[in-house]
Symmetry: C2
Subunit: 446 residues, 2 copies
C-alpha cells in the first residue's frame, strides 16, 4: 500500500481556538519556540511527512477571545528545519502580498538548507485586514487574485527552473565558475509582474519545492490542476471528498499531467485520547470554551442565510439553503462542505459548530486511537484522499496523542511508513521532479 501521507498542523493553541483557556495550556505557547521544537521532534519520531501552518499577514478579528494568526510561518519553520533532519515543512504564503522573485528565492533557500524538505502552500488571502497592511483600500476581488496567483506561479516555477543542470562548472584551472549559456533570464512581462531573473543560485534538492494549493473556488481549482503537487482540502462527507478528488485528477489530466501527479491531502480535526470516554470528556470540555453565539452566527452567514433567521438550536434543512454558496463566503470550500453536511441530515447551528471543530470548518473526528485510525483508513480506501492533514483540536494534547497513539496503529496496518523512505518531501509524496522547459528561454545576457 502506498500513497498514505500524513501532515500535522502546528496551529497553536489548536483548531479549537479557545483551547488556551484549558488549565494545562500555556496561553502564550504560540510564541514559544520550545513548544514548536517539541512538536517537531514528536512528528519526526513518528515519520510524519510534514508539519503545516496556515497564515494570513494581519491581526485577525477575535484577538479579545483567542490568539489568531501567529508568528510568520516561513521563519518559524525555517528555524525548525535547523533542529530536525527529515521532517517536511508546508508553509502558507500569499500570492497577493508577496513579490514572486522574493518568494521564489526564499523557498529555493529553504529547499537548500532543509535538504529538500520545503513546500509552499499558495493562498490568495481574502481578508480586508491584510489588504490594509499593504497599501490597498480594499482587498482585490477573487477573480483578480486568482489571475495574479496564476501569473505568480508561472513566474516562480520558471525562476526555480532557470539554472540548467551542469550550469556550475567550477573549473579551478581555467577559473571558469559557471556556464552562462545554461543560466536563463526569464524576461517575464505580464499583467501584474515584470521579472528578469534568474535567481542567484541553482535549484535545491527537489528541483522545485512542492507546491500545495488550498483554495476550493473555481479559480483555486484551475490553479490546482495546472500547478499543484498537493491539494489541501476540506470535506465533511465522504462522497463529497471522493468526488472532489476525481475532479482534481481530471483537471490535472486536462492540463497535460498524470492524475497521480497531484495528491489530495484532506483536512481533519482530531481529538484523540487513550479511551473513548476520555476523548468524549475532553470534547465536552472544549465545547464549553466556545463563544457559541458568535460561531453560530458565522456559520449562518457563511451559508448565506439571514443573520436572525436561526437560533443556535433551530434546525436548518437543505431546503433552507440558497442555491449556491454566497459570494461573500469566507471560503467556498468550507461553505460547500457545510452544505453537504446539512444535505445528509438537517442540523442546528450548534451541531454545525461542534461538527466543524468549533468553527474551524473542517470535520471533527473524536475518539480512541483505534477509532481515529479506522476512520482515516476507511476514507483513504474509499478514494477520498491520498493522505490527511491532521489538525489537532487541542495542540498541547492532540498533536502528541496522534503521533504516539494513532500513528503506530496506521503503521502496524501497513498503511503508513515506519521510517522516512526518501530524504526529500517530493520523493516521499511520490511526486515527479518537474522537467525543465529550458528551450523556450533566452540565454542570460548582461
Amino acid at each position: 500500500m502506498t500513497g498514505f501521507h500524513l501532515n500535522l498542523s502546528l496551529l497553536t493553541p489548536g483548531h479549537f481556538r479557545q483551547a488556551w483557556r484549558l488549565p494545562h495550556v500555556d496561553p502564550r505557547a504560540h510564541l514559544d519556540i520550545g513548544h514548536f521544537e517539541r512538536l517537531a521532534r514528536a512528528a519526526e519520531d513518528a515519520s510524519i511527512d510534514a508539519v503545516f501552518l496556515g497564515d494570513g499577514p494581519a491581526l485577525g478579528p477575535g484577538i479579545e477571545n483567542a490568539p489568531g494568526t501567529g508568528l510568520d510561518p516561513l521563519i518559524l519553520l525555517a528555524h525548525l528545519s535547523g533542529s530536525t533532519d527529515r521532517l517536511g515543512f508546508v508553509i502558507t504564503s500569499s500570492t497577493t502580498y508577496n513579490s514572486p522573485y522574493n518568494l521564489a528565492r526564499r523557498f529555493n533557500a529553504l529547499d537548500h538548507v532543509s535538504r529538500g524538505r520545503a513546500a509552499v502552500n499558495i493562498v490568495t488571502t481574502a481578508t480586508p485586514a491584510a489588504a490594509a497592511n499593504f497599501g490597498l483600500d480594499r482587498h482585490l476581488d477573487k477573480e483578480t487574485r486568482y489571475r495574479r496567483a496564476h501569473e505568480f506561479l508561472d513566474v516562480v516555477t520558471r525562476l526555480w527552473d532557470a539554472w540548467e543542470p551542469g550550469a556550475v562548472v567550477g573549473d579551478r584551472a581555467s577559473g571558469r565558475y559557471a556556464d552562462v549559456n545554461l543560466i536563463h533570464a526569464i524576461d517575464h512581462h505580464g499583467e501584474f509582474f515584470s521579472v528578469r531573473g534568474p535567481l542567484p543560485v541553482p535549484a535545491g534538492p527537489q528541483g522545485r519545492p512542492v507546491i500545495v494549493q488550498a483554495g476550493g473556488s473555481e479559480g483555486g481549482l484551475g490553479l490546482a490542476g495546472e500547478f499543484a503537487d498537493v491539494v489541501f482540502t476540506v470535506a465533511q462527507t465522504r462522497p463529497k471528498a471522493v468526488a472532489f478528488r476525481q475532479d482534481i485528477r481530471r483537471r490535472a489530466a486536462a492540463a497535460g499531467r498524470r492524475p497521480d501527479d497531484v495528491k489530495i491531502s484532506l483536512g481533519v480535526v482530531v481529538l484523540v485520547s487513550e479511551t473513548e470516554e476520555e476523548a468524549r470528556r475532553r470534547e465536552r470540555e472544549l465545547h464549553g470554551t466556545l463563544p457559541l453565539e458568535t460561531l453560530a452566527a458565522a456559520v449562518i452567514a457563511d451559508l448565506g442565510l439571514p443573520a436572525d433567521a436561526f437560533g443556535p438550536d433551530d434546525v436548518i434543512t437543505v431546503d433552507d439553503l440558497p442555491d449556491a454558496p454566497p459570494q461573500a463566503a469566507f471560503s467556498v470550500g468550507f461553505s460547500e462542505s457545510t452544505r453537504a453536511l446539512i444535505a445528509e441530515r438537517p442540523m442546528t447551528p450548534r451541531e454545525l459548530v461542534h461538527r466543524s471543530a468549533g468553527g474551524s470548518g473542517h470535520r471533527l473526528l473524536v475518539g480512541s486511537p483505534a477509532r481515529i485510525a479506522d476512520d482515516l483508513e476507511d476514507w483513504f480506501r474509499a478514494g477520498a484522499a491520498d493522505g490527511f492533514t491532521v489538525m489537532p483540536a487541542d495542540t498541547a494534547v492532540d498533536f502528541e496523542n496522534f503521533t504516539r497513539l494513532v500513528v503506530p496503529i496506521l503503521q502496524e496496518r501497513g498503511l503508513f511508513q515506519k521510517d522516512y523512505p526518501a530524504p526529500t518531501l517530493r520523493e516521499r509524496y511520490g511526486l515527479p521532479r518537474p522537467r525543465q522547459a529550458t528551450t523556450v528561454r533566452p540565454p542570460l545576457t548582461r
Copy 2:
C-alpha cells in the same frame, strides 16, 4: 573593558571571491548547509556576538568567474538559529525590494524563535539587476531610495512597538485573551506606504530586533543617526575611522539619542595562519587567483578616473583624484575609503586591489594570530570602532582560524568576552531597549 564586539561574515567562498579555485575549497560550499552549520558552531564556541551576511536580490555580474550572491540570508540564518543557542544573526535586507509589513513581521518572528538574537542590516540596494527582478526599468535614484528607507524604518519600528506590555491578558475564567486598548494600529499613510497594522503578535525578547545600517552616503548617515543601533562601516585608514565614529556619535546626539547608543562595527578582511610566513604564502596564493585587470578597472572607475588613464602598475597620487567620489560609485563609503588610502601614500591599482582584499573594498589584514589581535586592539583603543565585523579572506580557512587562534588572544587580553554575558544580542551589544511611544497612537478598532 567593555564594548569590544565581534561579528563574523559567513560569505562563501570568502571575501576573496575567487577563493573557490583553491584546492581545499568546495566550489559549491555556498549552497551547502553543512558548511554553514560548522561555521556557526565554531562561532558560537568562540562566543562571537553574531554572524553576518550581505545580500542583494539578483544574480550579480561575474558568475562566469565566481559565485556571487548566495542563498537568501533570512532563510539561511533562520535555519542556523535552530541549530545554535546563543549566536546572533545580522541579516541584510533591502528597504527597496521588501514591504515594511512583511519585513517587520519576519524579523519579529526571528526574534521570537531565536530568543532575542535577530538583527536586520538595512540596505537600499543600488543595482539595476535587482530592479529588473521587481518590475522597475531602472533602479531608484539614491535620494529616493533613502527617503523610502526612512519611511520604511519609521513604519517597521512602529509595527514592532504596537503591542504594549501587558496586552496579552490570558484570563482563563472570563475568556478574555487580550486587551485591545493596549494593541495599536499604526494607521500610516506616507509617500511610499500605507500600513494599518498592527502585527498579529507582540514583540519578541529584544523589544525591537537590532537595527544595523551600512550605507556611507549622506542619506545613509542620516538614517544611521536616527535609527541605527549599529553602523557597519569601511575604513582603510585609522584617522578616517576615528573621524567617522565621532561623526555618527554626533548625529545620534543631534537626533536626541545618547552617543553610546549607537555602535560602530568596522569591516576588516582577515587572512590569518599560525605563522606569519604561512599567512604570507596564502596571501600570494589568493592574489594569484584574482582577475587583476577586471578588478583594477573597477577600482579606477570607482575613484572616478578615466578607464584607460592608469595601468595596473601606474602610481595614482592624491593629485590625480577628482574633488569628490563620483556619483556613479558603487558605494560612497568604499570610494572614500580608497581615497584616504591614496592620500596616505601614492599607490598603483594593483596595490589597491591587494590592500582592499581582492576588490572587496575593505581593509585586508594579513598575518599571525598575534599580529591580527594587535591590530584590532590598536584600532579599538584609538577609538576607531566599538568592534569589528571580521570578513574571512578564504572562509574555508580563515573563519575557523580566526575563532580558534585570534579570539583566545583577545579574550586573554580582557578585550573580548569569554562567554556570552546575556541571552539577547541587544544586551550583549550594550544597547538600550527602545522605549515605546504609545501615547500618540489610536487604539485598535475594527
